[in-house]
C-alpha cells in the first residue's frame, strides 16, 4: 500500500505525474445536485501504469476527465506534470493538453474519413505541424506498433483491436508525458484486450511518461503498477502488484 496522499511536493517532484488532493466535483444544483467526486486523493507516477477501477458510476471517468483538464474540479488541488491545471486559463489548458496529454477512448473515436496514418497524425496537425512530416512520423509509429501495413486503411476496415492500436498511436505521436485511457479494452475480446494492454505496458510506459487506465476489466489488472479502487466518488484503497486485495474490493471491479 502507498499512502493516499503524496508526501512529496507535486510541483517539484519530477517523478510525480499526477497529484490529486481532496478533489471534489459535483454536477447540477439543488435537488438535482450529484456529488461525483467527494474529496479524491490520487497520485500517478511517471514510468508506471496506474489503474483506476471501481463499479459503474463511482466517478472513475469523472476523475480521469478532471485529471485530463477537460472537466473543472469543484474543489481540491490538482497538479499534473508539475502544473496546477485547475489554475490555468481555458486557452492555456487546451495548449497544455495538446502538448502533454495523449488520449485513448473506449470507442476509439477515430475519424472515419481519415486513414489510420492520418488519424495518428491529427495531434501533430492540431499543433500546427505540416502534413507530410506528420504523416511520415505517424506511419513510422504505426510500423513500430505492428500496423505499418495498414497505415493507409480506413478505420472501418480495421478490427477493433487494430483500431485501438491506431488510437494508441494517435495518443503517442506527439510524445506526451501523460496518457489517459478510458476503458481501452471494454470494446475488445479478451485476446485483443490483452494485446492492447501489453502494448500499453511495453511500448507506452516510459520513465518520463505516466499512463492512467480506467477499466472495468479485471482480467487485465496484472499489467498494473498501481491500482486505485474507487467507490462512491472516493478512492477506497490503492494497491501495488503483490499486495493482497480485500475481498469486497475485488467484487467491485
Amino acid at each position: 500500500m502507498i499512502p493516499l496522499t503524496s508526501i512529496t511536493d507535486p510541483v517539484t517532484d519530477p517523478g510525480l505525474a499526477v497529484s490529486c488532493r481532496g478533489i471534489r466535483k459535483h454536477f447540477g444544483e439543488g435537488e438535482t445536485r450529484v456529488e461525483a467526486l467527494r474529496g479524491v486523493d490520487f497520485t500517478a507516477r511517471a514510468g508506471e501504469l496506474s489503474f483506476l477501477v471501481g463499479p459503474s458510476g463511482c466517478g472513475k471517468t469523472t476523475l480521469l476527465s478532471v485529471i485530463a483538464g477537460i472537466l473543472d474540479p469543484s474543489g481540491g488541488d490538482l497538479t499534473v506534470l508539475g502544473e496546477r491545471v485547475d489554475a490555468l486559463s481555458a486557452r492555456d489548458r487546451i495548449l497544455f493538453r495538446r502538448k502533454n496529454l495523449g488520449f485513448v477512448f473506449q470507442q476509439y473515436n477515430l475519424l472515419p474519413a481519415l486513414t489510420a496514418a492520418e488519424n495518428v497524425a491529427v495531434p501533430l496537425l492540431a499543433a500546427g505541424a505540416r502534413r507530410p512530416p506528420s504523416l511520415e512520423r505517424a506511419e513510422a509509429l504505426l510500423d513500430r506498433l505492428g500496423l505499418g501495413a495498414r497505415a493507409g486503411a480506413l478505420p472501418a476496415t480495421l478490427s477493433g483491436g487494430q483500431q485501438q492500436r491506431v488510437a494508441i498511436a494517435r495518443a503517442l505521436v506527439h510524445e506526451p508525458r501523460l496518457v489517459v485511457c478510458d476503458e481501452p479494452t471494454a470494446a475488445l475480446d479478451h485476446e485483443s484486450g490483452e494485446s492492447v494492454m501489453e502494448l500499453l505496458a511495453d511500448n507506452v510506459v516510459r520513465p518520463d511518461r505516466a499512463v492512467i487506465v480506467v477499466t472495468h476489466d479485471s482480467r487485465v489488472l496484472h499489467h498494473a503498477d498501481s491500482i486505485a479502487r474507487m467507490d462512491d466518488g472516493r478512492i477506497v484503497n490503492t494497491t501495488r502488484p503483490g499486495d493482497s486485495l480485500p475481498a469486497a474490493t475485488q467484487r467491485s471491479t
Binding site: 495548449l95 493538453r97 495538446r98 472515419p112 474519413a113 492520418e118 491529427v122 496537425l125 502534413r131 470494446a187
Partner: protein, 379 residues
C-alpha cells in the same frame, strides 16, 4: 487541420453529395425562378428599349405603360419640336391589329408605326430583307417569332402577304426584335400606313419619340417637355421601369412568382441548412474527440466554416451551372427567347446561399462550442 476538415466533409460520400446537391438544387431553383420573373418583367419594356434612335418618350399624361396608350393630338408633335433642346421629335404609333394569312391563320399583333420620313424606331436587327424597304407601299417588317406563328413550319420568305383591316400588306423584312410581354407578332410599318391597318380611332398618335440636342441630357429634356407642353415625358429607361412597375402593381405576376420564389427559397434553404446542420451534429463525437485532444474552439469553428463554405461553393457552382444550362437550352426556343440567367439573380442567389450556409454553420458551431469534451469518455 483544414485537410482534416475537408476529409471529414468528403469522407461519407452519400452525405457529402446529398449536401452539395441540396445546395445545388436550392441554387438552381432560386436562380431559375428569379431570372424568369425578372426577364418576363423586362419583356414589358422590350419594345421601348428596342427603339434605339430615341432617348425621350412623350405621351399623354394618362398613359402609364407601353401597352395601353391614350392618343395624343397630331399637333403635339409640333409642340414638342418647339421645346428648346429637342434635336428631333417624330411620331410613333402603337396598335394591336389582327393579322391574317391567306391560309386563314390569324393572330393579334403588336404594330409599331414609325415616322414616314426618317423611319426612326425601325428594327435594326434584321434576319431577312431591309427595314428601309418599309418605304414601299403597304409593306411591313415582321419579327421571326411572329412569322413562325403565322406561317408555322414554313421557311422565312419575303414577299408573303398578310391582311390587316381589309388592307393587303407585304412582308418586306423579317426582324429579330426582343420578345414582347405577350408572345404576339411584332410588326413595323410606316406611321401613315400603320394607322390605316388599325383604323378604328380618330386620333392615333400613341407616342412622340425624341432625341435631345447635344449637351442636353434626356432627363433635362423630359423636364422641359413636361413644363412646356403639359404632356408626360420620360427617358427610355424611366419609361421601361414605368412599364415594369405597372405590371408589378396591377397584375398577379409578382404574387404568383413571389410565392414560387418564396417556396423555392424556404424549401431550398431549409433542406440545405438542415442537411449541413445534421451533418455537423452527426459528427459531434468526432468534434468532441478533437476538443479533448486539444483542438481549440476557434480552430473547430474554422473547420466547420471551411466545410460549410466548401459545400456551399460547390453546390452554388453546380446549381449555377444547371441554371445556365437550362437557360442556354430555353434561349434557343423562339417562345422563350431573351430569357437569360441574369447576373443580378446569380448574385442574389449567391448571397442567399451564403446566408443559409452561415446560419447553418452558426447553429452547428454553437452545438460544437457547448459540447463538453468529457462527453467523448462516455461510451
Amino acid at each position: 487541420m483544414n485537410y482534416v476538415a475537408l476529409r471529414m466533409l468528403t469522407g461519407d460520400r452519400a452525405k457529402y453529395f446529398g449536401l452539395v446537391f441540396a445546395i445545388a438544387f436550392c441554387t438552381f431553383l432560386l436562380e431559375n425562378q428569379t431570372s424568369i420573373f425578372a426577364n418576363i418583367l423586362k419583356r414589358t419594356g422590350n419594345q421601348i428599349l428596342d427603339v434605339t434612335d430615341a432617348e425621350v418618350w412623350v405621351m399623354d399624361p394618362k398613359t402609364e405603360y407601353f401597352e395601353q396608350t391614350k392618343a395624343l393630338k397630331d399637333t403635339d408633335v409640333a409642340r414638342v419640336r418647339g421645346v428648346p433642346g429637342v434635336e428631333w421629335a417624330v411620331r410613333l404609333f402603337k396598335g394591336g391589329p389582327v393579322a391574317r394569312t391567306s391560309e386563314g391563320k390569324f393572330a393579334a399583333s403588336v404594330l409599331i408605326g414609325i415616322d414616314d420620313a426618317t423611319l426612326a424606331g425601325a428594327p435594326r436587327k434584321m434576319l431577312l430583307g431591309s427595314w428601309e424597304r418599309l418605304r414601299e407601299p403597304n409593306s411591313v417588317v415582321i419579327d421571326q417569332a411572329g412569322y413562325v406563328l403565322l406561317f408555322p413550319g414554313e421557311p422565312l420568305t419575303l414577299g408573303r402577304a398578310l391582311e390587316m383591316n381589309d388592307h393587303r400588306v407585304t412582308i418586306v423584312g423579317i426582324s429579330d426584335v426582343p420578345a414582347p410581354f405577350l408572345s404576339l407578332p411584332v410588326m413595323h410599318a410606316r406611321y401613315s400606313e400603320a394607322i390605316q391597318f388599325l383604323g378604328r380611332e380618330r386620333t392615333q398618335l400613341s407616342f412622340i419619340i425624341a432625341r435631345p440636342a447635344p449637351g442636353i441630357t434626356p432627363a433635362a429634356l423630359t423636364a422641359r417637355i413636361v413644363s412646356r407642353t403639359g404632356l408626360r415625358a420620360r427617358t427610355t429607361f424611366e419609361f421601361m421601369w414605368d412599364c415594369i412597375r405597372y405590371y408589378l402593381r396591377n397584375t398577379g405576376i409578382p404574387v404568383n412568382f413571389g410565392i414560387t420564389i418564396a417556396v423555392a427559397l424556404v424549401v431550398g434553404t431549409v433542406v440545405a441548412g438542415q442537411t449541413f446542420y445534421l451533418f455537423t451534429v452527426e459528427n459531434l463525437k468526432q468534434f468532441g474527440a478533437l476538443k479533448a485532444i486539444g483542438v481549440s474552439n476557434g480552430r473547430l469553428t474554422g473547420m466547420i466554416l471551411l466545410q460549410a463554405l466548401t459545400a456551399g461553393t460547390l453546390g452554388f457552382t453546380l446549381g449555377t451551372g444547371m441554371a445556365a444550362t437550362f437557360f442556354e437550352i430555353t434561349l434557343r426556343q423562339l417562345q422563350t427567347r431573351g430569357i437569360v440567367l441574369m447576373w443580378q439573380c446569380v448574385g442574389l442567389t449567391g448571397a442567399s446561399i451564403l446566408l443559409v450556409v452561415i446560419v447553418a454553420s452558426v447553429l452547428s458551431i454553437r452545438r460544437v462550442l457547448v459540447l463538453e469534451p468529457a462527453s467523448v469518455f462516455r461510451a
